[in-house]
């Protein structure tokens, strides 16, 4: 039985009220959901709140799960819908940049974070990505995040977004190009001083 089957079996047990199965799924996926939420809203505290809400919603809607669908796709559909609804309410518009200023969080250090110049590069890169994300549409941000940070296939992202693969291809291309241009500008030193501060 592969991981996807184990997930599906666990989710069916959750639908029958098994909380241990839910805890198992939570442990497997909560970091992914939290990363997704963070990229979506750009704020750690709010990302953790959203993660909690998403898993509670997952639990409450467990009986809607059909084992023919990949569990991760189902989970990210719940996560995407929840985050889109939150953004539509207008509470979390464009708060991406502030967290990029966070220099005390250990998680801001990249793989080369032991060198001061590399750590600075990591923060600048984080800032460039955060600002690019803030400038995207919500669906571009969702598609980009699932693709680049969760490694999901276009087909699964299309399922999660309830969109065509062709639409997802365009969303991911536009989003990736936007981030690429931002990083390019950063490297060329043409990012506005206000943004780089």
């Amino acid at each position: 039985m592969d991981d996807a089957d184990l997930d599906a079996q666990a989710m069916l047990r959750v639908a029958a009220g098994d909380r241990r199965a839910f805890a198992w799924l939570f442990d497997r996926y909560h970091a992914s959901v939290a990363r997704f939420a963070l990229r979506f809203v750009g704020n750690r505290e709010r990302a953790e709140e959203l993660t909690q809400d998403i898993f509670v919603k997952l639990y409450r809607n467990a009986r809607a799960y059909q084992p023919t669908a990949r569990f991760k796709t189902f989970l990210f559909r719940v996560a995407t819908n929840h985050c889109l609804n939150e953004v539509r309410r207008g509470e979390y518009r464009a708060p991406h940049a502030p967290d990029a200023d966070d220099t005390e969080g250990r998680e801001m250090e990249g793989p080369r974070g032991d060198r001061p110049d590399a750590a600075l590069e990591g923060r600048e890169l984080e800032r460039a990505v955060s600002e690019a994300l803030a400038g995207m549409s919500a669906r571009e941000r969702a598609a980009f995040t699932m693709c680049r940070f969760e490694g999901m296939a276009y087909r699964d992202i299309a399922d999660a977004l309830e969109a065509s693969e062709s639409a997802v291809k365009s969303l991911i291309h536009r989003a990736t190009l936007a981030v690429a241009r931002r990083i390019e500008a950063l490297q060329a030193g043409t990012v506005p001083a206000r943004s780089r501060a």
């Binding site: 639908a15 939570f26 984080e126 693709c147 940070f149 276009y154 991911i172 190009l177 981030v179």
Partner: protein
């Protein structure tokens, strides 16, 4: 492919194109420097994104989610699971069995004989009989008490 099909470049970098389309894009890239530059930019960006640190949520998130689930009203499947736990099921089943047996046992009517195995009932009955004998004979002296006490033995002898 032409330069207008630029959407395909990212899908090409991600390995998401069907084989035939993938070959067309590769052929176009050999001939088009502008698209090659875009492809290089996209590849570099995808590689740079892998350098971003992972976000690890606080362990408190797990506790908070489980607490929120505890606060939810129980669904029917959850209630069934709770009721069917051995710690609840066996004592409950025992209680139900005792109640069922007591309800199903035939109740004695008003004229039914007393159960012989109940010692306290038997003692009460004997004392009642003795009291009736006292009342019948009257108690004028201690000798009457002795007569009453031996009365049933006399009946047996007869």
């Amino acid at each position: 492919m032409s330069c207008d099909d630029v959407d395909d470049l990212t899908a090409y970098v991600d390995g998401e194109l069907p084989p035939a389309r993938d070959a067309q894009v590769r052929a176009h890239l050999r001939a088009c420097a502008a698209c090659r530059a875009t492809e290089a930019l996209l590849r570099d960006t995808v590689a740079r994104l892998a350098e971003l640190p992972a976000f690890e949520p606080s362990p408190a998130t797990r506790r908070a989610v489980l607490a929120k689930l505890d606060a939810l009203p129980m669904s029917w499947p959850e209630r069934m699971r709770t009721w069917l736990r051995p710690a609840v099921l066996w004592p409950s089943a025992g209680l139900v069995a005792v109640l069922a047996v007591s309800l199903l046992m035939p109740r004695p009517g008003p004229d039914a004989p007393l159960a012989l195995e109940d010692a306290s009932v038997m003692e009460l009955a004997a004392n009642l009989e003795l009291a009736e004998d006292y009342e019948l004979l009257g108690l004028d002296s201690m000798a009457d008490l002795e007569v009453v006490a031996d009365l049933h033995e006399l009946e047996v002898v007869q």
